[in-house]
C-alpha cells in the first residue's frame, strides 16, 4: 500500500482516541498504512469525505444519508458494527403516568433529543406521525444538546431521562442502547420508568467511502477490519469502548435499514449539510 489511507471520525468522547489508535496500530502492524483525523462534528466530516480530503468516514446514519444525497449516490457503505443493524428507538415514560401506547400521548409533553439525532428525534417524529392520529396534539419538547454529534454522546437522551424523572415531560424518545444501559446502570429505581413503544429496526453507523476509491483499497480495508479478533485482549477493549461484538459487512439488506431515515430526513427537510 503506497498512500496512507486517511480515516475520519468524530471526537464525541475522549475514548475516541484510544479506539482509533488501536485500529491504526492494528493496520500499521500488518503493513496497511492508515491514519485518522478527528472532527468536532459530522457536517465537517461529510464535507471532507465528499471533497476527497479523507478516504473513509466513520459516519452516523444521518451523516450517511446526507453523504449519499449530497454525492448523488456516489458513496458506498463498507461495513458496520453488529450493533448498528436493527437499531431501534424506544418511547419511555414513568410507570405511574398511565401512558401505555402512542395514543395516550394526546395532550402530553413528549421529549425529543437533538435535532440531528436519528434515534432520539428524527425517527421518533416520523413514528409519532405514523402511529398516532393525534400528532398535532402532542406537545413536543426539544433537547437540542450536543448538536453536530448526531446523538453520539447520548447527552440529549440523558436530558430526556432527567426530564422524565423531574416530571418536566410525560414521555420521551431515546435509543434502545441508551435505554438498556440506563436500566443496567440503575439510573432509576427498579420499575419506575418503563417503555411503551419500540420502533421497527433501522441502521446506525457505517464506514462510508466515495465509490471512486480504488476497489482494492476498499476491499483491503474491509478485510483488515473483519480480521480483527474480538478475543484478542486489545481488540476486545477497543470493541467494548466502541460498543460492538464484531464488524459486519454492509449489504443491500442493511442499506434498506437506512430507507426510513432517508424518508424522514426528506420530510423534515434535513438533507442540507449546513446545520
Amino acid at each position: 500500500m503506497q498512500k496512507t489511507l486517511m480515516l475520519g471520525a468524530v471526537a464525541y468522547d475522549p475514548k475516541v482516541i484510544p479506539i482509533w489508535d488501536i485500529i491504526r496500530d492494528y493496520f500499521n502492524d500488518r503493513g496497511f498504512r492508515l491514519d485518522y483525523v478527528l472532527f468536532s462534528n459530522y457536517e465537517a466530516q461529510i464535507e471532507y469525505l465528499l471533497s476527497g480530503k479523507i478516504d473513509v468516514a466513520w459516519n452516523t446514519n444521518v451523516a450517511w444519508v446526507r453523504s449519499y444525497e449530497l454525492s448523488k449516490g456516489k458513496v458506498k457503505a463498507l461495513l458496520m458494527r453488529d450493533t448498528d443493524i436493527d437499531f431501534k428507538s424506544v418511547f419511555i415514560t414513568k410507570a405511574s403516568s398511565g401512558i401505555k401506547s402512542v395514543e395516550d400521548l394526546k395532550g402530553k409533553r413528549f421529549g425529543l433529543g437533538s435535532g440531528d439525532s436519528a434515534q432520539a428525534a428524527i425517527l421518533p417524529i416520523k413514528y409519532l406521525q405514523n402511529e398516532s392520529n393525534c400528532f398535532d396534539e402532542i406537545n413536543l419538547v426539544r433537547y437540542n444538546s450536543d448538536m453536530g454529534k448526531h446523538g453520539d454522546t447520548g447527552r440529549s437522551e440523558f436530558d430526556i431521562l432527567d426530564a422524565i424523572k423531574n416530571n418536566e415531560i410525560d414521555a420521551g424518545a431515546i435509543g434502545i442502547t441508551t435505554w438498556i444501559r440506563a436500566l443496567e446502570d440503575g439510573l432509576f429505581p427498579s420499575g419506575v420508568i418503563e417503555s411503551f413503544y419500540v420502533s421497527e429496526g433501522y441502521c446506525h453507523c457505517n464506514f462510508t467511502v466515495l465509490d471512486s476509491l480504488d476497489e482494492k483499497i476498499q476491499e483491503a480495508f474491509t478485510q483488515m477490519m473483519l480480521s480483527q479478533d474480538p478475543n484478542d485482549p486489545i481488540i476486545k477493549k477497543m470493541m467494548q469502548m466502541e460498543g460492538l461484538n464484531k464488524w459486519v459487512v454492509t449489504t443491500n439488506k442493511e442499506l434498506e435499514g437506512y430507507e426510513v431515515l432517508t424518508q424522514a430526513m426528506k420530510e423534515q427537510d434535513l438533507m442540507k449539510n449546513n446545520q
Binding site: 435505554w179 443496567e184 417503555s195
Partner: protein
C-alpha cells in the same frame, strides 16, 4: 420456538426491566456455553423490548416469547464464545469437615498439580475458574519445581498449631538478675539473633509476590514462616531489653553475610542459602544457646524459636531436594552460589568477634580467663558440630559427601 431446547432457566418473577434483571441475565450468560439457549421465566408479559435490546447489545440472539401458565417464557441464544475456561465444581465437600478437622492436605483443588501454572493464573489458585481476558500477571515463579516442597501442607498445619505468643507464653518475670557480664553477653547474642531474624523475615517476603498462587500452599506456608520470624524478632527484642541491658552491637561481618543472602534473587538458591545452610546452622546455634542459657525463661524463648526454625529447615530441605531431583545439574549452581558468597565474605576476613566472645562467656559461665577459655573451646566444638550437621543436610538434599564437605567448609563464619 417452543421446540428450541433451552439448557438453563432463570426465574425472574415480577422483576421489571432493571439493573437486577440484567444482572441475573448477565451472569446466566456468562456461565453458559456458546450456542446454549437460556430461558427467562417471568411474570411480566412484555419485557421483550428490553430483552431484545439487551441481547442485541451483547451480540446474542433473541428467539421469542411463549405463554406459560400465568407466566411467560422468553428465550435467548448465547452467540458469544465461552466466557470461562471451564465449569466451577459443585457438590463437593472437603474432607475433614464432618469431623471438624479440615486440614490443608485434605484439599482437592485439582486432579493433579501441574508442573507449570496456567498462564492465566492471576491472584487465585487451583480450582478457581478463570474468566477470559483476565490480566496476565506473569509471576516469575510459575513452575512447581521452583517452589514446591512436598510436606508443605503438613508443615503449614504444624506451623499454625505450634504458634505461640511472645507476650504471654514466656514467664518474663522469672528472668533472674544475671551477672552484668553475662547479661551483656546475652544482650549481644539477642542483638545478633534479631539481625538474623530480620533476614529470615525479609527474604521470603521478597519472594512471596513472585510465587504463582497456583501453588497456594507455598505462599501460605511462607507467611506462617514470616509470622514465626516476626515473633522471634519480637521475643529476642524483649529479652534484650528485659533485664537492664538492651541492644548491643552489629558487626560489619554479620551485616555483610546477611546482605549477601538478601541479594540472592534466585528462589532455589535463596532457599538453599537461607533455609538449608543458614537456618540449619542457626538451629545448631539455638541448641547451643538453649543448653548454656543460665535461666529457664530465656531457655524457653530459645527452645520455642528453635522448634519454629526446625520447621523452616524441613521446608527448605524438601524444596531444594525436589528441585535437585527435577534437575540434578542444579547442584553445581548451588555449589557456585556457596562459593560466590564465600568470596564476597572474604573481603572482610574475620568472624564476628563480639558474638564469639559473648558465646564463649555464656558457655563458660563468665569472663574470667578459665571460664572464658572453657567457653571458647565449647564454641569451637559448636562450629564443628555445625559443620557436621551441614554436611548431613547437604547430603540429604542430594550432594555427594566430598562436595558436601567442600560446600560446608565455605559457609559463612556468621553461621546464618
Amino acid at each position: 420456538m417452543n421446540n428450541l431446547n433451552h439448557s438453563i432457566s432463570i426465574f425472574t418473577g415480577n422483576i421489571p426491566p432493571s439493573k437486577e434483571l440484567f444482572l441475573k441475565l448477565e451472569n446466566a450468560f456468562l456461565v453458559a456455553n456458546k450456542g446454549e439457549i437460556i430461558e427467562i421465566i417471568s411474570q411480566k408479559s412484555n419485557i421483550e423490548i428490553e430483552l431484545r435490546g439487551w441481547a442485541r447489545l451483547r451480540g446474542h440472539e433473541y428467539l421469542g416469547r411463549t405463554s406459560l401458565k400465568e407466566q411467560f417464557s422468553y428465550k435467548i441464544k448465547k452467540l458469544s464464545k465461552n466466557s470461562f475456561t471451564g465449569k466451577a465444581s459443585w457438590n463437593k465437600k472437603m474432607n475433614g469437615i464432618d469431623s471438624s478437622n479440615p486440614k490443608m492436605k485434605d484439599l482437592e483443588l485439582s486432579d493433579t498439580i501441574l508442573s507449570k501454572a496456567p498462564e492465566d493464573n492471576g491472584l487465585l489458585t487451583r480450582g478457581i475458574v478463570t474468566q477470559e481476558g483476565t490480566p496476565f500477571y506473569d509471576f516469575e515463579l510459575s513452575h512447581k519445581e521452583l517452589v514446591w516442597s512436598e510436606p508443605v501442607s503438613i508443615l503449614y498445619e504444624e506451623g499454625k498449631n505450634l504458634q505461640w505468643n511472645a507476650t504471654t507464653d514466656i514467664p518474663w518475670n522469672e528472668i533472674p538478675n544475671l551477672d552484668p557480664v553475662l547479661e551483656r553477653a546475652v544482650c549481644q547474642i539477642m542483638t545478633y539473633l534479631v539481625e538474623n531474624e530480620f533476614s529470615a523475615l525479609y527474604i521470603p517476603g521478597k519472594f512471596i509476590s513472585k510465587i504463582n498462587p497456583y501453588y497456594m500452599e507455598i505462599p501460605l506456608f511462607l507467611s506462617s514462616l514470616m509470622n514465626d520470624e516476626a515473633r522471634h524478632i519480637e521475643v529476642f527484642t524483649k529479652r534484650a531489653n528485659a533485664n537492664g541491658g538492651g541492644f548491643q552491637y552489629s558487626s560489619e561481618i554479620t551485616q555483610r553475610s546477611l546482605y549477601s543472602l538478601f541479594k540472592e534473587d534466585d528462589y532455589i538458591k535463596s532457599s538453599f542459602l537461607l533455609h538449608v545452610m543458614g537456618e540449619g546452622t542457626f538451629v545448631d546455634l539455638l541448641g547451643f544457646l538453649e543448653k548454656y542459657m543460665p535461666d529457664d525463661a530465656t531457655k524457653k524463648i530459645i527452645r520455642l524459636a528453635k522448634r519454629d526454625e526446625m520447621r523452616h529447615v524441613a521446608y527448605g530441605i524438601e524444596h531444594v531436594k525436589s528441585a535437585i531431583q527435577q534437575n540434578p545439574s542444579r547442584i553445581n549452581a548451588l555449589k557456585n552460589t556457596a562459593f560466590k558468597r564465600k568470596e564476597f565474605m572474604d573481603e572482610v576476613s574475620s568472624e564476628s568477634s563480639m558474638l564469639l566472645e559473648s558465646l564463649a562467656i555464656l558457655a563458660g559461665g563468665g569472663d574470667n580467663p578459665i571460664a572464658y577459655k572453657r567457653g571458647f573451646d565449647l564454641v569451637e566444638e559448636l562450629k564443628e558440630k555445625m559443620n557436621q550437621n551441614r554436611i548431613k543436610r547437604l547430603i540429604d538434599i542430594g550432594m555427594d559427601e566430598d562436595l558436601a564437605n567442600e560446600v560446608s567448609q565455605v559457609h559463612t563464619p556468621n553461621f546464618m
